[in-house]
């Protein structure tokens, strides 16, 4: 922990970065994000199994970006990121939201985080994304801390749910999703927390013409959730923040994960894993499947 704090302090003191985005402890089993520009404040930085937030979302926020610009130059942002959060950063870099040189990634060997604040860290309380996680060591970083540790074993409930849904017929699936989406209150927390929802004006806010019905009735909810899922298809890195943020407990990441599985299946592509692989959206292969076309 001290290593992290010292390192962050040095970065700020030497003016290598404009700010450090990290986690601070709130209670024993709860952390919250903090943006530090004052070297003295680095003592508040922590890293542990309660660092749930995907801080990559802050990289595109205008107020934080404004910290990067001084009178005469652009400075870097440092970010404390779990290996899975690095995936989001990779996706952001690929989508030109931040240049690799403008972000200083401080990462950790990770063995998982809890599913919610206040839980004890064990197999039963492991966050869903950690169960299937294959990246315990970050794929890209500028500084790495921590030792490799075993991740507790746990059952993959969301995969089971997907398989269960697969077995239903169209009508039953439609009913399932209709009832789930029916809960939506259009608070857009899912959008706010998603690192890849960085648009300055979301499609759902476009008024003329009105792309997505803004009322939170069944049909409007259905459109919004489908468009959200589609816009993330091939881009979502599976951080699961939407699930955590949804006040109505709609299993949003279920669709995201299902689409990620399709993407892997159809195009052998996984988002946010490599800076060199061309993005799925915006590129094509002449050998892509022609199956659905008559």
């Amino acid at each position: 922990m001290d290593e992290l704090r010292n390192y962050a302090r040095e970065l700020l003191e030497k003016e290598e970065v404009a700010a450090v985005i990290g986690y601070q402890q709130v209670t024993e089993k709860r952390t919250k994000p903090i943006v530090i520009t004052d070297p003295a404040e680095t003592s508040r930085l922590v890293f542990n199994e309660y660092c749930l937030n995907n801080l990559a979302v802050y990289l595109t926020k205008a107020r934080i970006r404004s910290l990067m610009r001084t009178k005469d130059k652009t400075m870097k942002l440092a970010i404390v990121a779990k290996p899975c959060d690095v995936h989001s950063i990779v996706a952001l870099i690929q989508e030109n939201q931040i240049h690799r040189n403008d972000v200083h990634i401080i990462s950790f060997n990770c063995h998982g985080v809890v599913k919610d604040f206040g839980c004890d860290f064990n197999g039963d309380n492991l966050a869903a994304k950690c169960i299937k996680c294959e990246t315990h060591k970050p794929l890209y970083f500028d500084k790495i801390f921590g030792e490799e540790k075993q991740t507790p074993k746990a059952g993959d409930a969301s995969l089971e749910k997907i398989n269960e849904l697969e077995k239903l017929n169209s009508k039953e699936r439609f009913e399932f999703f209709k009832s789930e989406f029916d809960k939506c209150i259009k608070c857009y927390a899912c959008r706010a927390v998603c690192p890849l929802c960085y648009c300055q004006r979301c499609i759902t806010d476009k008024a003329i013409p009105r792309w997505i019905e803004s009322s939170s009735h069944q049909r409007g909810n259905f459109s919004w959730n489908i468009v959200r899922a589609f816009h993330l298809s091939g881009r979502c890195t599976g951080c699961g923040e939407c699930d955590r943020a949804c006040p109505m407990d709609i299993p949003l990441s279920l669709i995201n994960r299902r689409m990620a599985m399709e993407v892997k299946d159809l195009f052998s592509f996984v988002s946010g894993r490599s800076l060199e692989t061309p993005t799925l959206v915006g590129n094509f292969d002449k050998k892509d499947s022609d199956e659905i076309f008559m």
Binding site: R173, K178, I208, R219, S223, I255, F293, M294
Partner: protein
């Protein structure tokens, strides 16, 4: 429709260069196909947004066809390749959320394939009739909805704003 019998409502989004011209050829060849499909012309299959399909369903379409030039034959070289990826994903997504696969169909029809156009329209119409009206979607509760929510009067100010933005 004034008729007693239910007739499916089908929308076809087609590209200007291949499928639209193929449909013209079907006409000049006097081929016959069911009258349920209305064509909306765009420049390229790459320019069709998936939201158009949702909009069509919202507006009571029972089925949608998307059609463009064959791969490597695109007037714009690559638009249809991008479209192919997009539709493959979108089709899978709709399938997962429970929209029957045949509600949304795809084809490549070139300017010389008038016969194929007629065949595809006939097939799609048959498939949609077999599926019946798209009640599941149409019956979704949509209270507070005005007739043309896309162009609500209240939005007039926004029109001015958007225009200003777009035209710089």
């Amino acid at each position: 429709m004034s008729k007693q019998k239910w007739e499916p409502k089908i929308v076809a989004f087609v590209c200007n260069w291949c499928t639209y011209a193929g449909a013209d050829l079907a006409g000049t060849s006097r081929l016959k196909y069911p009258a349920n499909t209305k064509i909306i012309r765009v420049m390229c299959s790459g320019g069709i947004d998936p939201v158009f399909i949702l909009k069509a369903f919202e507006r009571g379409a029972d089925g949608v066809l998307v059609s463009g030039c064959h791969p490597n034959d695109c007037h714009y070289n690559a638009g249809n390749f991008h479209a192919r990826r997009r539709w493959d994903l979108f089709h899978k997504l709709l399938d997962f959320v429970g929209i029957e696969k045949d509600r949304l169909q795809f084809s490549w029809i070139s300017a010389s394939e008038g016969k194929k156009f007629a065949d595809v329209i006939t097939k799609v119409t048959k498939d949609i009739i077999a599926l019946g009206p798209f009640k599941t979607y149409q019956d979704m509760n949509a209270e507070f909805t005005t007739v043309f929510p896309e162009f609500a009067e209240a939005g007039n100010k926004e029109i001015a704003y958007e225009e200003e933005m777009t035209n710089g």
